[in-house]
């Protein structure tokens, strides 16, 4: 894997005023076995901003997202084949072979498409990301669990039933529980893979609101199928097609005045 300093910058960092780079995907190639799933993908991720990944099904959005927390390392045959993801401020390549995936996952957490609470209590679900970091002090755990649940707008609903199973909550509550779990460890980036696709419109609205609030604390990268959702909650939008990055830009520009014909066709629903 290439030293980050040798990966040329994408030069896409400009945009919203005062934006600071948090991560930079540079010429990233990724393979599932022989299948070339990401082709020289480049895009910047700005600190404390929401960046949305859109594109038709199968274009590689989840694949790109799962590079950020090295989820692909869990399965044999997956290969990061070139380029990398430079992480700031420490300027390391997240995909370098000498970077421990566990360290990456401690700094970048993830919320999945389908809520996946552990079959443990609400409390233990949130506390888990703290326990893997060696936190044992009861008071400290209590405090951190409470503030994570508050951060995920779930505290009021569950404060008196922390010992109940996470799976007993409604779908939207379960997803907020998973957000609390992702938030508890104070990550630098939270990855969301279509976090609302399994939820009803009301639960979806509350998660969207939450994501907008969360960017005070954390940088957000979100995959969504719902273009209105991308327009509502993101500051930047990236449009992918067949494993390639077609266009990246400030969300308003992408939706009002895309540079590429392909992006315009997708956004206006003429294709996809």
């Amino acid at each position: 894997m290439v030293n980050p300093m040798q990966i040329p910058s994408t030069g896409l960092a400009a945009g919203v005023e005062g934006a600071v780079l948090k991560a930079d995907v540079r010429d990233l190639d990724f393979y599932y076995g022989a299948f070339h799933a990401l082709k020289r993908v480049s895009m910047p991720i700005h600190d404390h901003m929401v960046t949305a990944l859109i594109g038709p099904s199968g274009c590689g959005k989840s694949t790109l997202l799962r590079c950020f927390n090295r989820m692909h390392d869990l399965y044999p045959g997956n290969k990061y084949a070139g380029g990398g993801i430079v992480f700031y401020p420490d300027n390391t390549n997240l995909l370098a072979p000498d970077v421990d995936p566990i360290e990456v996952r401690m700094r970048i957490s993830m919320v999945f498409q389908k809520p996946n609470p552990f079959p443990k209590s609400i409390y233990e679900n949130v506390a888990y990301s703290l326990r893997v970091r060696g936190m044992r002090n009861k008071n400290e755990l209590d405090d951190r669990v409470e503030s994570a649940l508050k951060g995920a707008a779930l505290w009021n609903e569950v404060s008196n039933r922390l010992k109940e199973l996470g799976a007993n909550l409604s779908g939207g509550q379960q997803q907020r529980l998973c957000i609390a779990r992702a938030l508890a460890s104070d990550p630098e980036i939270i990855l969301f893979d279509e976090p609302t696709s399994a939820l009803d419109p009301i639960a979806t609205a509350s998660i969207e609101e939450l994501i907008i609030e969360l960017k005070e604390k954390v940088t957000i990268l979100i995959v969504t199928h719902n273009m209105q959702q991308a327009a509502r909650i993101s500051d930047y939008t990236a449009y992918m097609y067949l494993g390639e990055m077609v266009e990246f830009g400030v969300t308003d520009q992408i939706f009002i005045k895309p540079q590429k014909k392909a992006t315009e066709d997708y956004i206006t629903g003429r294709f996809g």
Partner: protein, 308 residues
């Protein structure tokens, strides 16, 4: 709008098609009955012969030349001790091997070959394990014809069952839970100990019980390693006797087990011994059922709090 004639035709087709449902259910019930009834008849026959023999003395007496004085004390104690050794050695080994294969082992041709062979091991006749144990445990390691040898032999026998059950129980855990743990920054060991083992314990337990239920009735390998058929003493309990026995001296004691006791009695010409064998068989079936009952209870307790 559908014409009435068409509707009649459709109904006729449905009726004809449904005839097969009827035929199959009848066949299914018959097959089920055949299996269950055979067992019930055998069991009742055994109970009628054996139950009158059951008494307090039957459980507390050693075997004897006179059928009416003979009991199963050494046999049931032997069975329980052998099962204890079997469980204590097979469960950790089998679970560890299953977890390793599912969570740690690289997926390559080596592990493929190991996988195929584990399933094959489960099909090897048990007497072959007896021969292996005779060479390995009795002579090479010098464990003698002891409870330890028998326990380890049966452990080898049921190891594949436990490994396969462990792997299946682990695979039943949704991928999303697995990924959720890693995404929190857990190591493989943290994932295994905090999630994989607790969530798969009910399934593993089922496999353990199936294995133990097989082991408890095994006779051939135990005879091969040379269990005694007539034994009129118990292993010395820890710290008892003079000089006091060590904590684990009992594992080197000679022993007999329930199926061997039964086998011994059935080979006697006197009818009274056949009744003893039936009574011992009844106790053995009861022991197996009790184990299964315990498994069902524990499985319920373990599954109660697991919901994906």
């Amino acid at each position: 709008m559908m014409k009435a004639a068409d509707l009649d035709a459709i109904r006729a087709i449905i009726t004809r098609a449904k005839r097969w449902d009827l035929i199959f259910s009848v066949l299914g019930i018959l097959s089920l009955m055949l299996g269950i009834l055979t067992f019930v008849v055998l069991f009742i026959d055994m109970a009628i012969q054996g139950v009158p023999r059951l008494s307090y003395d039957f459980f507390t007496s050693f075997p004897s030349r006179r059928a009416e004085n003979a009991g199963i004390l050494s046999a049931w104690v032997g069975t329980i001790l052998v099962m204890l050794v079997t469980a204590l050695s097979a469960v950790p080994l089998g679970v560890a091997a299953g977890v390793y294969l599912e969570e740690y082992a690289p997926k390559n041709w080596m592990t493929d070959i190991i996988e195929i062979n584990i399933s094959n091991l489960a099909g090897i006749p048990s007497i072959v394990y007896g021969l292996l144990a005779l060479g390995l445990f009795v002579y090479y390691f010098g464990f003698g014809q002891s409870i330890l040898t028998a326990g380890l032999t049966l452990a080898l026998l049921i190891l594949p069952v436990i490994i396969v059950a462990t792997r299946e129980a682990i695979r039943a855990i949704p991928q999303s839970i697995h990924e959720g743990s890693y995404a929190c920054g857990a190591t493989t060991w943290q994932t295994v100990s905090d999630h994989i083992l607790p969530y798969s314990s009910a399934g593993i337990l089922t496999g353990v019980i199936i294995g133990m239920a097989r082991a408890i009735g095994e006779t051939a390998p135990i005879i091969t390693i040379g269990a005694l058929t007539f034994i009129a003493f118990l292993p010395t309990p820890p710290f008892a006797g003079d000089p006091p026995a060590g904590m684990f001296d009992w594992i080197f004691a000679p022993f007999t087990v329930m199926p061997i006791q039964m086998f011994n009695w059935t080979s006697r010409p006197e009818a009274a011994f056949t009744l003893n064998a039936a009574a011992a068989g009844f106790v053995l079936v009861f022991m197996t059922l009790a184990m299964n009952g315990l498994a069902i209870y524990l499985r319920y307790q373990l599954r109660k709090n697991i919901k994906w």
